[in-house]
């Protein structure tokens, strides 16, 4: 951990940052970095590079490889400014049209549809995020109250299991569960047995249920998995706090609301902020598999639009514009979400 004061942590790993030692405040870190820069041992010289040739041989080829497959494809963005026709071969052999595709997508003939697509993407993501976070916190709190360890472990393993199933399988299970009772739709069966509905509901043909179906299916798949980080945060709470509260006569609920929840609040906030950075990037498979002509006004998300309208119908240029929009917004959102999380982390986690 002595290294922590010298090195800057990697900007973000996408999830919860670790509590850092209290001594490494931001100012101190900056000072340490300045010192490190002046330190002759840290200067990059040919001698040092040569001495580390084995480490370079291990990393540089893989770095170039990563650049090729992750950054080089950006040349494909060129077709956003073209009338791309796959038949003409190379992308340098196409007709350039400036910003016409951007106009088409945002304001022109496709404007209304694309705005709805963006609203759908955000609506589904936000609902999924809220329901998922709330569910995971409740389940983590309830699992934490289980004192029978084998039972707790079994419950954890059962709830983690759906995470490992593919979206294809989950979508297949969801479509069966939501179908008519005669096709195995146990949700309709259950609702009818409880007399909540008199007639089975054709969930997947009604646009107004679609966002809820996406959020509910996500909840089913990821609920258990999402408790892992909360449970880890709960186990890190000092047991002395609970003992002290008991001496003061605090009951179970008091301890839950006055100790456990406040203690994991930094984790909750950080995870919420970071996940909200992905708001335009999630929800591809479920809308793609479960969506159909009857519900497309509520089901179509940006990724589905790119795949259906672009790749499968050959409108490459328009799809790339939509893709660029998504990527740029995502980078901005994830970047600022991470900055926000980092800043909060300075105040709440340290």
């Amino acid at each position: 951990m002595t290294d922590a004061t010298v090195s800057t942590p990697v900007p973000a790993t996408g999830l919860e940052p670790a509590p850092e030692p209290a001594s490494s405040s931001r100012a101190q870190k900056r000072k340490a970095r300045k010192k490190a820069a002046k330190d002759p041992k840290r200067k990059i010289t040919w001698d040092r590079v040569w001495a580390q040739r084995a480490l370079l041989a291990m990393s540089v080829p893989l770095l170039l490889y990563q650049i090729l497959f992750k950054y080089v494809p950006v040349y494909g963005w060129a077709i956003a400014f073209q009338h791309y026709k796959p038949g003409r071969g190379s992308i340098w052999n196409q007709q350039w049209v400036g910003l016409e595709n951007f106009h088409n997508l945002f304001t022109g003939v496709n404007g209304e549809r694309f705005r709805q697509v963006v609203v759908n993407t955000m609506g589904q993501s936000v609902l999924t995020l809220i329901v998922g976070t709330f569910g995971a916190i409740v389940l983590a709190l309830l699992l934490n109250e289980v004192k029978n360890l084998p039972f707790k472990r079994i419950m954890q393993n059962i709830t983690y299991m759906p995470h490992f199933l593919s979206w294809v399988i989950v979508a297949s299970l969801a479509s069966v569960a939501l179908s008519l009772p005669s096709s195995g739709g146990f949700i309709n069966q259950g609702l009818m047995n409880l007399h909540i509905v008199d007639e089975p509901v054709l969930f997947l043909t009604q646009p107004n249920y679609f966002w809820e179906i996406v959020a509910g299916t996500n909840l089913w798949k990821e609920l258990g998995w999402n408790t892992i980080l909360y449970l880890a945060a709960i186990t890190a709470i000092d047991p002395g706090l609970y003992e002290a509260a008991e001496v003061d006569g605090a009951g179970r609920y008091r301890k839950m609301f006055s100790i456990t929840l406040p203690s994991i609040r930094p984790t909750i906030v950080v995870l919420l902020i970071i996940n909200s950075g992905w708001i335009l990037s999630t929800n591809f498979e479920l809308p793609y598999f479960l969506g159909n002509g009857l519900v497309s006004e509520k089901s179509e998300t940006i990724d589905v639009f790119v795949l259906r309208y672009g790749y499968q119908l050959g409108n490459y240029s328009l799809a790339v514009v939509a893709g660029i929009f998504k990527t740029i917004v995502a980078v901005i959102l994830v970047g600022s979400a991470n900055l926000a999380a980092k800043r909060l982390n300075q105040e709440t986690l340290v």
């Binding site: 940052p17 084995a54 934490n144 393993n157 593919s166 069966v176 790749y311 893709g323």
Partner: protein, 317 residues
């Protein structure tokens, strides 16, 4: 380092005081009962769709069309499995999925751990900039069509390479392994170095054996992602039936049954192979089981590792 905290006892509870304890005990019993009931109901909700699918796959196909099968087959029959494994497309797709997963896991473990080793060495001058370039790829995605164009321009469409070449390293797994390697005591590395081991030997013979738990987690994550992926088949390899994968075949089946459902002629057709017949609902359930079981079989062996792996991965080093 953070893996050990998971195993700590959760809360220590010591009730004190006579009457208060009695009151607490009654409340305790009520709460525990409610909590247990709720968790059992939740577990049932998680498991029922899976058991139901399994039951339908083990049921006679024509009988399954009548519906009403719960978690136990009504007319037991292994015919669906017979049909599925006699369908050349499904059998080939199964073999291809296994092959793809094995190759992807092997290449990922070798290359990710090699890079992670280099980036975990404190003296390595470029470790920070290289890590940054990799971490940024978690957020930056050129997009589906640009990626497709790259694969096309590299001449990898409709080839097995399209499955594994673009994905030999994932930034998240790199961070997991690098963080784990950083926790290996320096003395071990130093003493190996004084014995004259070079970097490659140090990585392969000293560090790799010490990283087995982290490698198990990363291997599981990679295997699940590769086994479950279908988009790579659709985008890059849908032109060659021999390269189809199980998830892609299942996806095609799901798409056609969704369409059939919308036209309300669901579950009346039949699938045929080698003179044997089954129904779409039975076929779909059977392929679902075949596509789910391999991952669910590996899972119990690795589950004791993955919680710590996820926690390590979420902690920046």
């Amino acid at each position: 380092m953070s893996g050990t905290t998971v195993a700590k006892p959760l809360t220590r509870r010591a009730s004190r005081g006579g009457s208060r304890r009695r009151k607490r005990t009654v409340e305790q019993i009520i709460f525990t009962t409610l909590n247990t009931t709720f968790l059992l109901a939740l577990a049932a909700l998680m498991i029922y769709p899976l058991l139901n699918t399994l039951a339908i796959s083990l049921n006679d196909g024509n009988d399954a069309v009548r519906g009403g099968i719960g978690i136990w087959p009504r007319v037991f029959s292994l015919q669906n499995y017979n049909v599925v494994f006699n369908m050349t497309t499904i059998y080939q797709a199964f073999v291809m999925s296994v092959l793809k997963t094995v190759v992807v896991v092997a290449t990922n473990l070798v290359f990710t751990s090699m890079l992670a080793y280099a980036l975990s060495r404190k003296e390595f001058i470029f470790r920070r900039s290289i890590t940054l370039i990799f971490v940024l790829t978690m957020y930056f995605d050129a997009g589906l069509i640009p990626n497709y164009l790259l694969i096309r321009d590299l001449g990898m469409l409709n080839s097995f390479q399209a499955y594994w070449v673009p994905t030999i390293i994932s930034a998240f797994n790199l961070i997991v392994l690098r963080t784990y390697m950083k926790s290996i005591p320096d003395e071990i590395i130093e003493s190996a170095r004084t014995d004259g081991a070079g970097e490659f030997r140090m990585w392969w013979q000293i560090v790799m054996p010490l990283c087995k738990p982290a490698l198990a987690v990363v291997g599981l994550f990679v295997a699940v992602a590769s086994w479950n992926s279908w988009l790579d088949t659709l985008l890059y390899n849908s032109g060659d039936q021999a390269l189809s994968t199980l998830q892609y075949e299942l996806q095609k089946l799901l798409a056609s049954s969704m369409n059939a459902g919308m036209n309300s002629v669901a579950a009346t057709g039949s699938a045929q192979s080698g003179g044997q017949v089954t129904t779409p609902i039975a076929l779909r359930s059977t392929i679902t089981v075949v596509a789910a079981v391999p991952i669910l079989l590996v899972y119990p062996f690795l589950q004791k590792h993955f919680v710590s792996g996820l926690v390590i991965g979420s902690v920046k080093g």
